[in-house]
Symmetry: C2
Subunit: 574 residues, 2 copies
């Protein structure tokens, strides 16, 4: 492609709306444009990267005998109602009616649609196992779309679904997909950690997330360097242990604590440390208030709470002020387990039961109670682990200190078991003619999100540094001065020769100052650069790699060998 014809509206200014490197650079490099909040258009260079990623996905899916299909983006409500997810998804689902007033949604995922297809088509164990995938546009009406392609309302996904006759088959399908995902992300150049995931709205038993390490990622991941343990912080088991202290249980005592509400205020007021407090958190779950008790120095993991109540995320939130007053009889900040004014469910993290003489709110404005002890002063439902893993916690598998990192969830794999085949009655006849439910898996890769994640991992202050495998073009030939005949001629010759070898080449033949051209080339991140300048008459050109920057003068005859070398270094062939 000649850049004089390429539609590549680069920007010098950093768009004010963008915070993250990937978002800024995708806009600046003229690869995407915002239509409305969370909805983007892919311009020529950006869409070439998308197609590169899609092709890598296709090749690895085909390699494990998954077959490509394309399903609708508009789904009839009935199927989602059959599994109960029409309500579960809540406001995240775009919903609409057709001209006959039939209800539809824009598909946020496709478990219902694939299961519906298969229940009508597959009747016998002979037709299983089956693995189908699609690369398709998905929709989620995010509360706060942000970070460009990392959290958008319209996005490109690869989603796959497997159907097996038994658990063993399901686990094999899961394993195959896992291995394919590793290859896909490796080929895209993405450095990922595979962590135990939370199944969330998908349901089912086992799940893993492929997380691209990035300081701006929205996922917190926890892993152990001494063993293979790795999980999201939402899922990770917290091995926090309370030393059993052989202390005498003192008498409880009400203390006047005017306007002292937070743990920080309280530690100062009582001149003690936060591990001597127990926090009483009031939540609203399906219009009912529940109280949750955790040690004052630890955080509650809300995802663990969701699992106990078996509700979707949007149905759990902190109790409102009026509810707090009704339940505690006090202002916000003085809740505790003793003398609640209403009978509410009381969930207690198991560590609380091992603490001695701790401090809690008194359910009375400006008062706390000290020397409280579980069992003697109150009881509740004891839950083994409600805590969020934190820096310094120990690995639940080997006891070493866990490490934490941030990352972007670019892929996920779920063992769904029979959740959907039960909900939608997807059965088959086994070898003995007995009707059984299919065992399913579902697997996602965020294609557009992967593009942004690659940029998060590959950029510098001047722009993007694409890995060769996903670069919009592999090589750029820059004619420094387009008024110089020799430069034009040599540039065009190189362009033609490289193109004829199947190399994807940009020819920068724009009538711009050299500085402008080099800035653009840095910004759009083409991996291999050949610059045709003053020494064109001597058949000397400059060769450089975007990732290194140092330029070398070489004879034009060496160009192809040098390109081949870099292809080889990055695991590709010309």
């Amino acid at each position: 492609m000649k850049m004089s014809k390429l539609y590549m509206p680069t920007l010098r200014e950093v768009p004010s709306e963008a915070e993250l490197p990937s978002h800024k650079l995708l806009l600046r490099a003229g690869m995407i444009r915002k239509l409305v909040s969370g909805v983007y258009s892919y311009l020529p260079l950006g869409y070439r990267v998308i197609k590169k990623i899609e092709n890598i996905v296709r090749e690895e899916m085909d390699a494990i005998d998954s077959q490509e299909v394309l399903m609708s983006a508009i789904h009839p409500a009935e199927l989602w109602q059959e599994t109960g997810r029409w309500e579960d998804f809540g406001p995240e689902m775009f919903k609409f009616n057709d001209r006959h007033n039939r209800e539809f949604c824009l598909g946020p995922t496709h478990e219902e649609i694939f299961t519906d297809l298969i229940r009508h088509e597959v009747k016998s164990y002979k037709q299983l196992p089956l693995s189908l995938y699609q690369i398709q546009t998905k929709y989620r009406d995010e509360k706060r779309p942000r970070f460009g392609l990392l959290r958008s309302r319209e996005f490109i996904m690869k989603d796959a679904y497997t159907f097996d006759i038994d658990e063993e088959g399901m686990r094999k399908s899961y394993y195959d997909m896992w291995k394919a995902y590793e290859k896909i992300f490796e080929r895209c150049g993405l450095k990922c950690k595979v962590v135990e995931g939370d199944s969330g709205a998908m349901g089912g038993s086992d799940s893993h997330e492929f997380t691209a390490i990035s300081e701006y990622g929205e996922s917190n991941i926890v892993y152990c360097d001494d063993c293979d343990y790795a999980a999201t912080d939402e899922k990770a088991a917290c091995l926090y242990e309370i030393e059993s202290k052989n202390l005498e249980e003192l008498s409880i005592e009400k203390v006047h604590t005017p306007n002292v509400k937070t743990i920080d205020d309280l530690t100062e007021f009582f001149s003690t440390t936060s591990d001597n407090f127990v926090k009483t958190l009031l939540y609203n779950v399906k219009d009912e208030v529940v109280a949750v008790l955790v040690p004052g120095n630890k955080e509650l993991n809300e995802i663990k709470l969701l699992k106990i109540f078996k509700v979707p995320e949007h149905e759990l939130f902190m109790a409102e002020e009026s509810q707090v007053k009704e339940v505690t009889g006090a202002e916000v900040g003085f809740a505790g387990p003793i003398n609640l004014k209403k009978d509410v469910r009381l969930l207690v993290d198991s560590r609380v039961t091992k603490m001695k003489n701790f401090i809690v709110g008194a359910n009375e404005t400006d008062y706390h109670i000290k020397n409280v002890n579980y069992g003697r002063d109150f009881t509740g439902e004891v839950i083994e682990d409600l805590l969020l893993v934190e820096e310094g916690d120990k690995c639940p598998k080997c006891g070493s200190i866990l490490k934490m990192d941030r990352g972007i969830e670019v892929g996920n794999i779920f063992q769904l078991g029979t959740k959907y085949s039960e909900g939608l009655n997807a059965t088959f006849l086994d070898e003995n003619g007995k009707e059984r439910k299919m065992l399913m898996g579902s697997y996602g890769i965020g294609v557009s999100r992967s593009m942004a994640s690659i940029i998060e991992q590959y950029h510098d202050e001047n722009g993007i540094i694409w890995p060769l495998s996903v670069a919009p073009y592999q090589v750029v030939v820059t004619i420094v001065n387009v008024k110089n005949e020799e430069q034009i001629q040599l540039g065009e010759e190189l362009y033609k020769e490289l193109s004829s070898l199947g190399i994807e080449v940009l020819l920068d033949d724009r009538n711009e100052r050299a500085g402008v051209k080099f800035k653009d080339i840095d910004l759009i991140g083409i991996p291999i650069r050949v610059t045709v300048g003053k020494k064109a008459s001597e058949n000397i050109v400059e060769f450089s790699l975007r990732k290194e920057g140092n330029k070398q003068e070489i004879n034009v005859n060496e160009v192809i060998d040098r390109i081949k070398e870099e292809f080889k270094n990055q695991g590709l062939s010309v």
Copy 2:
């Protein structure tokens, strides 16, 4: 691909919902499945054909320097309101609100979205001309979705948009696209006629439709064998001429015509021919009734009426019974231009003014009036041409008798002029620094509809006969008896050898009776067939083409040459 693993749910029965060959065969061959009315899923074989067509489109678009992008399927209402099309599209648009109650639609076409992109990005004549395209899913909430992929509510389109500085540039872009379309349809094997089109909701000046000839097509096209005139029947000028008769104008006379309403009844009653009548048709246009008069032996062309009233299709319909009674004072069937009870607009096709002593309704139940003459007995707005072209009409260009055919509109190209750049204020600065509106073109190809159209043109009673260029697989190697070791071995060898040459091969290794296999192979329409049967031990196989059927025994060594020969015959290379 081994067919034992291929997801290809063929059906023996013809699905009752399907009327057209393409619809029946796509369902029977397991290529598509219906999700809901007008919404389909593409299964593995069907989606391979879609991708083949898409790639042909891509290559030809790239060849004319059109650049691929991908825009959103969800459009904010504001852009459509700016051009006034939010209302124009009426109930054909799927509309919905997001969680913040902002209005959106599912894009039925993308003029607004592309123009919006360009008005923000392109400021100078130096950035023009520009040609962009996308292959994307479109939505129209059709009143009566039917015929499978030919009239669906969700469909795959290639749409392109060009932006030029002047008329000349626009016409060149239009011509380039025209030529690219000819190549695309030719490569897909589609026999098309290019006809003058009606611009409809697109607006603009000039347009053409690419119509795949098919007896089941919904478009009627009119063309001349003696010159290059070709148009849709909606657009075609009707050259119907009334011989001026030097007859005396007789006195009008009211005739009792009890229960005689239709032209057929009337010709019988009056013992005359239909060209002695004038039909008075009552229409409802924006809640107002208008009367339209055409010769009794000709049909009104409603599209020509739409243009006069400048309203979209859904705002013009036949007047309701109550309106007819109100305007004529009579039952339906007795309308006429004389003594209307209400003052309505009266549109008169110019031929009516040349007729003598004709018969019309009397605006009184069971009465007609004869010997009516335009000018003497009534007047109205005379319109040059309101008639639909019919078999036997003459070519408006050369006067020869026109021919008529049916077809499917698979592509269309529009010169939009400044319709959208005015509506959305898309301007650029010309060489003199003067602000000017861009000249636009818009161009569509129905990708999914093309797939169905190819089947309409290529099938027989046993199934589909894919042209090699779009076939899901190019060759099928059938192992007749999968219990025979020699057959398996030879079949697998051939499969591997052909695959290694880059040929797309299916290996029918299914444990089914030979008859079942052959029926399936016929049905799915793979162009080249190699059958490995009893003579495998002698290295003899059967070679046949789906389009011919006659089988030939050849030595296995000849297979590749025979395949190459057929590739060459169909303009492809191995």
